[in-house]
Symmetry: C2
Subunit: 581 residues, 2 copies
């Protein structure tokens, strides 16, 4: 049947037909009105609606790659078929080993592979589980993760082959060329051939929305890393939460500064595609390159820990931006000084808080209309709080510690801003489990909530504020001193760039705080041969702001602070230093 | 345990503590990581994060009401307890009868009750189902709906008591005063007393996310109205889809022009609260009042059918807006003339398409970057298309009709922009069922998809375009003529304000189109005593744009067009006129 009338108008430009992105045949068995939540089909919708839009750019390499949504969707489909051809079955784990971060003093180098973001869609399209592996681990640690996860296939960057000890797991190497001859590209091409052009219709979507999506191993500052398994449903909802909270839209361009292997890049690989935004990844990133992208690539959004934000605003290339950029900050609270520096450049901070176990952000510090009348210092102190439940999160609470391991009753601390308890979360963006570790899972879910291990107070306005990781609290003369709070105050000294505080044993007080300080480059020469004077100066500064028991007893100037691959300061390493003193 | 440091800073203003909006105790039995999707807890989060923000304003009445999120959340909680006290049990239906629209020629009067938007949260909080009833129905029709739905309680506007024939269902009357003595307010107060201050923690959340949320009876131009039952999960996802597509945020102010009883106000009662936006409802609305709100109340968003948009832009109070407003248009395709008029006033159109059975919008016509180079006429023709899948919708397809009622195989029409088929939808925002009508449900879901009853073509760029309701297609000389397409072309005549085309039998051609035309007021006098000349003029105009078989054979000038309460033209009534000719 044909119809006549005004309906045959077509776009006048040369029209590129969108890809066949319908997976309709494959879900014929599903109900018409309940479909499993899954973030991978975001790519199908984006490719159907904006086939010619730039989806992902990988510009800073010898052979830059710029994929439209239509082309990228095809590559993802090829990956899914390639995995199935390689024998990957539903629920199998596929490891991805690709570098993200180097830590060279103040210069953080990131290397981002498009194949990691590909995998967030392609592996899920094959109904398997993505297992990103941190490349800063040692070969034995990588071996442990590969063995513990039971990975059936490994995608790996060619420069990181040394991380893999003898294994009989199939390995696909990526040379990051995007060209024929690159084994990764050959894998995709073979997948395309294997598909016999059946397209998306030839792939089954995972019918169980609570099936595994990503298996991320936590950095594990103590003990063996734990595998955090997330679900498809949680990933879908967390990604949409990030779109809403970050106001990401089809007009947005997201720069990958945040490591993508950490908590599934906080679900941003999916969030950006849900919003039909453009993503820019970098093979070799430094701060000048970030500023180049800020100033010339139309960047609107990025995420990063405070330490990264400090690097960005203090880079010589930093300058006021022509258009505002939104920075989502997590990992630690931003200081007033940092917020002010970011604002001066035109970067608006959004402070969020969460863990790998909560798909990244679970709370956000929502700025309030009446904060406009406060000073920057006052506002920054409010903004440093971890906040309230995220759009698609559910409950966050602060409770007294359980009486014993069978105590399932949860008692909220009073909302007085002073009483410390543990942060508990519950809802759809809490992990499924610690993979193959029922005992750790049981302990983490005691009382029907996830136990974060973070200590916090609950303010009268319902906002939580993390005071410390439980192990970082300093018991000084019987008083609890928050290392985070001390760091916040010390960093208000104009010569301090970054500071970390840990407990050091003290004959009289049990423990006292010790501060490790990185000076601002312009002030460092003044104190070079005069560390003691600086220590006195900083302790004097602290006394004006903190009670005596919370003032550092010792101050040490350092050239760098030890950090995890995600930019978090490794207090474990500082404690080792302290133990030797 | 208390902690010292910089953490005791509180907002300096007099702080109003947020309400106790945690429902934590009530869901202790739930898993830590899978919570039932439900739009009602949006109010808890909004009230926790922005307790003092204006949530809902009802300003144009003798006793204006302005509720902050904290106060509104308390009223909703009171409603939930009141319902439980009244014996409402999980799954029971609660009817709400409140006026929305009068149709006085070009002047549409809307009356909006806060108690309808209250009910979208309060009834769900009591685990019951909201059943909004159209007040333009006759008492027998209302009786049918009350009986068919099995409503256990009725909230009703005092002016609409005449709609209820003898019933023994308890009735709560609302005088819309918001003050003591109003029976609705007494009901809320009694609920508060009954709650014994147990708060949200005393209410159980519905554990089944696929339980019923809203039962909307379709206007039913033929036969008995059908009850469209939606789910909590679908409502949650549809509301979030509308937030994302409409870019509603905490900075938004939504004006209730769209009838709230229609498809749960397309889920906007929840969408606005999810986004923590402000909603403005009106008791008695006319176009000058809409413009007053546009110009003085900070309105950023509204929804409405083209006929309403026509009324808005043609009102004498219309003028260019200081800030852009976003208008979501559904119910019929906007014409080029309308889009241009809206743009001249600073109103940006978003064209969406859906049915009550799809929670309202299921597709959106996504404007493309390259449309910027097109003329307004070209762009409007592209924008008039119904588009592609919405953010949280899944598949939309156009298929050939089934061979018979047992034919479950679906054959897509070619994407040629010419072949007509039926629009089918599938996914989480497809209704649960036709309430108490398994036969109609089975037919609607034939082949595992929802059958919309709308005829469409599928364009090469993946966009669907509705050509007609199946019953509105005109078979003229064996050719299919789309009444919608003919209307689009006829409305390009400068003297035409609105036009509707239906089939009229013809001795030679079987059927031929007949047009009913409403003239623009400024041109109407010219043709007052000269209808035939205008008919000839319009047919001449049509011949330049349409094939012969699609040109109207008859043209009749009318003073008004018959419409449903939601502003859709009642072609059934026009066909009755035609049948008598």
């Amino acid at each position: 049947m044909h119809v006549a009338g005004a309906l045959d108008f077509q776009p006048t430009r040369e029209s590129i037909p969108p890809p066949n992105v319908s997976y309709q045949q494959s879900v014929l068995g599903l109900a018409p009105n309940v479909h499993p939540l899954n973030p991978f089909p975001f790519i199908l919708r984006a490719a159907a609606v904006y086939p010619d839009k730039l989806a992902i750019a990988h510009p800073d390499v010898k052979h830059p790659a710029f994929y439209t949504y239509a082309v990228w969707a095809q590559r993802i489909q090829n990956m899914a078929y390639g995995l199935i051809q390689a024998g990957i079955r539903p629920g199998d784990r596929v490891a991805v080993i690709t570098p993200n971060w180097y830590d060279l003093h103040l210069l953080h180098l990131a290397r981002m592979k498009t194949f990691l973001v590909d995998a967030h869609f392609g592996v899920l399209a094959a109904r398997a589980i993505v297992t990103p592996v941190n490349t800063r681990l040692t070969p034995p640690e990588v071996s442990y993760i590969l063995k513990h996860s039971g990975a059936k296939l490994i995608f790996i960057d060619r420069d990181f082959m040394h991380l893999i000890e003898n294994t009989n797991v199939p390995i696909i190497v990526c040379h990051d060329t995007g060209r024929a001859g690159d084994p990764y590209e050959s894998f995709l091409s073979a997948g395309r051939v294997f598909s016999a052009e059946k397209g998306w219709a030839g792939l089954d979507i995972e019918p169980d929305e609570n099936a595994g999506a990503v298996l991320c191993y936590t950095s594990g500052t103590t003990g063996r890393p734990k595998g955090v398994l997330t679900t498809l449903r949680g990933s879908y909802l967390a990604a949409i939460g990030n779109v809403v909270e970050g106001q990401i839209s089809r007009e947005s361009t997201y720069l990958w500064i945040l490591p993508m292997f950490h908590a599934a890049g906080w679900t941003y690989p999916w969030a950006n595609v849900f919003a039909c935004a453009t993503q820019i990844t970098m093979r070799s990133v430094d701060y000048p390159l970030i500023w180049k992208h800020f100033l010339t690539s139309g960047v609107t959004h990025y995420c990063g820990a405070p330490t990264v934000q400090i690097g960005i605003v203090n880079d010589p290339a930093a300058r006021p931006l022509p258009r505002p950029i939104s920075a989502v900050i997590a990992g630690a609270a931003p200081t007033a000084h940092l917020i002010s520096q970011l604002e001066q450049k035109g970067i608006k901070s959004v402070h969020v808080y969460g863990l790998t176990e909560t798909y990244g952000p679970f709370t956000r510090c929502y700025d309030q209309p009446h904060w406009g009348t406060l000073t920057l210092e006052q506002r920054a102190k409010l903004m440093a709080r971890q906040g309230q439940s995220f759009a698609t999160a559910q409950d966050v609470r602060v409770v007294f510690p359980p009486q014993d391991e069978n105590d399932e009753e949860l008692r909220d601390v009073p909302k007085d801003g002073r009483t410390v308890g543990e942060v508990l979360m519950r809802g759809n963006i809490v992990m499924k489990e610690y993979f193959r570790d029922p005992e750790a899972t049981r302990k983490a879910f005691q009382g029907g909530h996830f136990h974060s291990g973070d200590l916090a107070v609950w303010h009268p306005d319902g906002v939580i504020q993390v005071v410390d990781r439980s192990k970082d609290l300093i018991i000084s003369g019987g008083e609890n001193a928050s290392s985070l709070a001390i760091e916040l105050e010390l960093s208000s000294h104009p010569h301090v760039l970054e500071v970390s505080v840990v407990a050091r044993s003290h004959p009289k007080w049990g423990e006292r705080p010790m501060a490790f300080v990185l000076l601002r480059p312009e002030h460092a020469p003044k104190w070079k041969d005069n560390h003691d004077s600086f220590a006195s100066e900083l302790i004097r500064h602290a006394r004006t702001l903190l009670p005596g028991f919370a003032c550092p007893e010792w101050v040490q100037i350092v050239d760098e602070l030890p950090k995890t691959s995600t930019g978090k300061i490794l207090k474990t390493n500082l404690r080792k230093v302290v133990a030797k003193l």
